[in-house]
Amino acid sequence: MVALLMHAAEQGLVYGIAALGVFISYRILRFPDLTVDGSFVTGAAIASSLVVLQGLDPVVALAVAFAVGSLAGVLTGLLNTRLGITDLLAGVLSMIMLYSINLRIMGRPNISLLRAETITRSIAALFAPLGSAAVLVFLAGIVLFIKLVLDFFFKTEVGLALRATGDNEAMITAQGVNTKTMKVAGLALSNGLVALSGGLVAHYSGFADVGMGIGTIVTGLAAVILGGSLIRSRRVGWMTASVLLGSLIYRIAVMFALRYGYVIGFQASDLKLVTSLLVIVALVVPALRDRLLRRPKPC
């Protein structure tokens, strides 16, 4: 049981970074961004091909993954702000384009990292005394660091302007902010995080596969919405914490479903259905609660 929970926590953390990315585009910018199904793989593709084919240091490979992932976000942002293509469609177009681009980056549909110097292997070696908990501790440290950096960013002038772009675009434009630039920047940051997550997942799973991004938006949203229904505060620090909490809970739920679900005939393919049901419940329960207590609904 402890091992299972540890694994669930590890997955909750690596996928939690992607959830933070989805949080930025969906919650902060109010931009439903489907690019992530593609940029997640881009990160995995870069982080694995650079390590396996070029022999690069895994940390460098992950950094490049983040950078290229943000380019994917820039693409979607430009499609939307410069060419006037609606947010959903722009994201879909980018995602489709990325499929071919990802195949090019990898050179083949699947790259195995089994015998490569992945970040998880380096960590396990560096923190050997921690034993099997080394990876978990390392991931927790990384994710905490990213969260704190994000929290700080959203308290800066630029970060505040980014939040306002999603909250009241007309107002912030009238206050001198170029919202087009803001959207592109926000999407770049968001997809960079998703790509970083993809790279980490590839190193963690031991392989990168061109199909491993399917459903990233769904699991990302599940984490955001689940977490958001548990922690209702609007303060940035709590919001990012809620996203990570949501990701952890989701992965633990998945672990349990896989482990014990056979009792009710549960199969892995039912996971997507269960995810959507979880999200629906998470969306409806707060609204119901508000209605019962007659609280004013926040926008």
Binding site: A3, Y99, P109, L113, S205, M255, R259, A268, L271
Partner: protein, 340 residues
């Protein structure tokens, strides 16, 4: 006398306990596959039957934990982690993504991982050296690698007029991608050209197949899950083009290709089972080289007379003589082994 009785009683108790203990701990084997698929399901059945035949009764001597990732690569990792948490004694991983996930999760442990239905275990990084297993740690298994040039030769044997071969494949599937490349490499030496067309989802297969009509003298499909799931459209396109169609999986002959050639995947599972038995009897995976199905048994060839009739194609007698069976009047007919 008392001492004798006492030692007999102790001996009996020890024997009894021993028997009880031996019977109380069945071996746990985790079986995982990436999707549910007739070929992969056959591998699983073949392996289990091989173990049962060797005396490992299901439920008594061995307990199987079966899981399918249903096409989700991320779940494959969770499944392997699950197996680890349940302390399985051995993992049978069928198909590449599940094998990679299991190899990663159990890397550095003493739990043996036996893979099956992997086209190129060395290229995929599952093993360091297929022939010399000493550095493969806890991983070994069975490969269904086919010699694609044999398939191409078979097509050539069907008719001298076959020069251009149309190939529908999913570039996103690792074994299909590899086999397509190998086909392209070996085609020129046979005087053939490959015209390949990509379909990244089963929805795009019909259009891809239709784009080959009029451009090729024959159709060819390898063990590609995406294309196979939409095989009817490819059969339709081949019929419309009135050209022969070779499928690299002989059990698929009933879906309508002119000729089908491939391994018996139930047999493949049995071969995997024999590797598992070697491990269970004490051999380490690092002592077992990868078994290539092609070295154990050859591929089977089935010709489809119904399909040939539809496109007015006549098989050369040599091909029929070598076939392992026919598909005729809606049923498979196996050639009876001739007395030697």
């Amino acid at each position: 006398m008392k001492r004798l009785v006492r030692s007999v009683v102790v001996g009996l108790v020890v024997l009894g306990l021993g028997a009880a203990l031996a019977g109380a701990a069945p071996i746990k084997i985790g079986i995982c596959k990436i999707v549910e698929h007739p070929a992969l399901d056959a591998v699983e059945r073949g392996a289990i039957d091989a173990l049962t035949a060797a005396g490992y009764a299901e439920g008594k001597d061995v307990e199987y934990l079966k899981a399918s990732a249903q096409g989700d690569y991320n779940v494959a990792v969770s499944i392997a982690q699950n197996f680890q948490a349940q302390h399985v004694d051995l993992v049978l991983a069928i198909a590449t993504p599940t094998a990679l996930a299991a190899a990663q999760v159990f890397k550095g442990t003493s739990t043996p991982v036996v893979f099956a239905a992997i086209t190129a275990p060395e290229e995929y990084g599952l093993v360091v050296d297929a022939k010399d297993p000493s550095r493969n740690e806890n991983i070994t298994g069975v490969s269904d690698r086919i010699d694609v040039s044999l398939d191409l030769k078979l097509l050539k044997d069907l008719s001298p007029s076959i020069k251009r071969i149309g190939l529908v494949y999913n570039p996103g599937e690792v074994n299909s991608d590899l086999l397509t490349r190998l086909a392209e490499q070996s085609a020129p030496s046979l005087g053939l050209t490959i015209v390949k067309v990509a379909a990244d989802t089963s929805a795009n297969v019909p259009i891809a197949a239709q784009s080959l009509i009029g451009r090729v003298d024959a159709f060819f499909v390898t063990t590609d899950n995406t294309v196979v799931s939409a095989i009817d459209s490819v059969v339709a396109a081949a019929n419309e083009a009135k050209v022969p169609f070779l499928m690299a999986d002989y059990t698929s002959v009933r879906f309508g290709p002119t000729v089908a050639r491939g391994f018996d995947y139930y047999e493949h599972g049995q071969i995997a089972g024999s590797v598992i038995l070697e491990v269970l009897s004490g051999k380490k995976p690092s002592q077992i080289p990868v078994v290539y199905h092609a070295t154990v048994a050859r591929e089977k060839v089935y010709v489809n007379l119904d399909a040939a009739a539809r496109i007015a194609f006549v098989f050369p007698q040599a091909v029929i003589d070598q076939a392992d069976g026919l598909y005729f009047a809606g049923a498979m007919w196996d050639r009876k082994p001739t007395a030697k």
